[in-house]
């Protein structure tokens, strides 16, 4: 039986750059691999990868594989599943890490099925057990109401997707040595049965939620789209982004791109202001790692107060404009 060794990171590019998640996974993988004295490989998919290979070695990669075949120039579940599975079979890693991103969510289960690997999605933490030579994964379950710690099986590849911002990148170590390997493997495009006919990006309003230092978010308690005007004004004063829970999105008061929570975005700003948000587990899981949480809600027993640092029991229609006005004076 093969002995699986080392860690393979699937590196994503985003807007023509190495995605933050790729740097995070490299940092996390480096720390795990060092504790076993093993190597970290990185797979960059698409020809554009060649531009970034050198950048990834100071961030922890020992070997950088670049799949340059033109079929990989754009993301497609079939071609990416193929190349990731191929590389895993070639280098036999003990662990393959992807981000809990559009790519990872879609491809990780398929890769694990092909490799007969173990699988954990949306991990917040991955640890190593040196004695038993297995990995411990911590991941939210039941919509974030509970956490589960899962142990992988020794002698079987483990595939994990990791939630963005849960691993920490290394500060670049200049002069670190590594190797770049070009892969020519390709796939006949006619084997890709699902044809992508259109890609449509939603227009982004203001600051990206994932990168915002301050977020003001509204929930079902706002009662309608008008409520978001007050939220936007407060966010504008604080130079923050506007978010929402699932109810305003389902009710179409705000676009889907604004949803925070298990089915939307996972955010971790310095300051999170929750307005008219009751605090359902599926939302909380998306904002819990915020440094400081402020809640305004008319129900004194709302669950949101349990996870907040500062609370105000009030009708948001009255309170929010007053808070906004006061902040205007204080921040002048």
């Amino acid at each position: 039986m093969a002995e699986y060794k080392g860690i393979l990171v699937i590196g994503e590019l985003e807007e023509g750059k190495l995605a933050p998640i790729a740097k995070e996974l490299l940092g996390g993988a480096r720390r795990l691999a060092d504790s076993r004295g093993e190597g970290v490989s990185l797979l960059l998919i698409g020809e554009k990868g060649t531009t970034f290979a050198q950048e990834t070695i100071p961030l922890g990669a020992d070997k950088v594989y670049i799949a340059t075949h033109p079929v990989f120039s754009e993301f497609h579940s079939d071609s990416y599943t193929f190349i990731i599975s191929e590389v895993c079979q070639k280098i036999q890693p003990a662990l393959c890490l992807m981000g809990q991103t559009d790519l990872g969510r879609d491809v990780a289960p398929r890769v694990a099925a092909r490799l007969e690997a173990g699988l954990c999605m949306d991990c917040l933490e991955v640890k190593i057990d040196l004695e038993q030579r297995c990995f411990f994964q911590t991941r939210p379950v039941y919509g974030g109401k509970a956490m589960a710690v899962m142990a992988s099986t020794p002698g079987r590849v483990q595939v994990n997707t990791v939630r963005p911002k849960s691993m920490v990148p290394l500060s670049p170590q200049e002069g670190r040595k590594g190797e770049t390997i070009i892969l020519h493997d390709g796939l006949d495009p006619s084997l890709m049965k699902a044809k992508i006919t259109k890609r449509e990006k939603l227009p982004l309003e203001g600051i990206k939620l994932e990168e915002a230092k301050v977020i003001v978010a509204g929930g079902g308690g706002l009662g309608g789209p008008e409520g978001f005007e007050l939220i936007k004004e407060l966010a504008r004063i604080l130079r923050g982004a506007v978010g929402a829970t699932r109810v305003p999105v389902d009710e179409k008061w705000v676009p889907l791109s604004m949803e925070i929570g298990q089915t939307g975005k996972i955010v971790s700003p310095d300051l999170y202001i929750a307005i008219g948000i009751s605090g359902a587990a599926q939302h909380i899981t998306g904002c819990l790692s915020s440094k400081y949480i402020v809640a305004i809600n008319k129900d004194p027993d709302a669950n949101i107060f349990k996870i907040s640092n500062l609370g105000l029991v009030a009708d948001y229609r009255v309170a929010v404009p007053l808070v906004t006005e006061k902040l205007k004076t204080l921040l002048r």
């Binding site: 379950v141 301050v214 300051l271 006061k326």
Partner: protein, 267 residues
């Protein structure tokens, strides 16, 4: 048009956190007494998607399948009451404690036994383990194309047009049938069964298939085939000490809140 929908019974995800209990020594969630299991919400949307396709095409047969024990019958009947034609329950002690791969293996075998299918629909993830894997793995085992996280599905002749949700937008796919599609919450709301639907569903005969019906490989299913073992299940300590702001008037309280926000030096 033959549509198969895979559904899973789960503890109602809308259960308030206070009623959510874990038996720590056994690493299990304890369902509160008297609260029935429901169709996992994304799976209910998969049933809804199937019904919308059938209504638009004015023909089609929907078969729902579930792997489960006690609560399987009630959720299959719920899907029948919503408008599905047939139901199948897969149940056998040998299937118990299967992981996602074992579950996908069993469901893929059941789908093969049903034989005829143009479209297989699953929810994007189950509301208990939140893995989002079973649909994709079934497609891999059956060797058919897969599109995940659909918000809209339209049949155009022998093809299907699927709009798929991605982080900041949508992708549109065209795929030849048969195909497996997982359904996301953006599809909308699942319908509530009509009274007549409930009456009809109550009388329906639902076959129960076991290992012998499916000829499952014992090495690929059940407890012994589990690839990741649950070590610990716990309710995380989320709680912060919340400082409640008060004041003689709302203006005073709001003013205090603004001052406290500024004092955090986070803005």
């Amino acid at each position: 048009m033959e549509i198969i929908v895979c559904i899973k019974p789960v503890l109602d995800p809308d259960l308030p956190p206070a009623k959510f209990m874990i038996d720590t020594p056994k690493n299990r969630v304890v369902p509160p007494a008297g609260i029935p299991f429901v169709i996992s919400p994304y799976d209910a949307l998969a049933v809804e998607a199937a019904l919308r396709i059938k209504e638009e095409k004015k023909e089609g047969r929907i078969t729902v399948i579930t792997l489960g024990d006690g609560s399987a019958d009630s959720i299959v009947r719920k899907a029948l009451a919503m408008g599905a034609e047939e139901g199948v329950i897969i149940s056998d002690p040998a299937f118990e404690e299967s992981d996602g791969f074992g579950t996908a293996q069993i469901l893929a075998q059941a789908i093969k036994k049903i034989g005829r299918y143009d479209l297989i629909l699953c929810g994007r993830q189950a509301a208990d383990w939140d893995m989002g894997m079973v649909g994709s793995v079934i497609a891999e085992y059956l060797g058919i194309p897969i599109v995940t996280r659909a918000k809209e599905i339209k049949i155009l002749g022998g093809k299907v047009k699927v709009e798929r949700v991605i982080t900041n937008g949508y992708e549109t796919f065209e795929v030849e049938l048969p195909v497996l599609i997982t359904v996301s919450n953006e599809l909308g709301q699942a319908r509530i069964p009509s009274g007549w639907g409930i009456i009809k569903a109550a009388k329906k005969e639902i076959p129960i298939w076991s290992v012998t019906h499916l000829g499952s490989d014992p090495l690929k299913i059940g407890k012994n085939a589990v690839r990741n073992h649950l070590l610990k299940l716990f309710v995380p300590a989320y709680e912060r000490r919340c400082d409640m702001i008060t004041g003689e008037t709302m203006a005073e309280a709001a003013s205090r809140l603004a001052e406290r926000i500024v004092e955090t030096k986070l803005i």
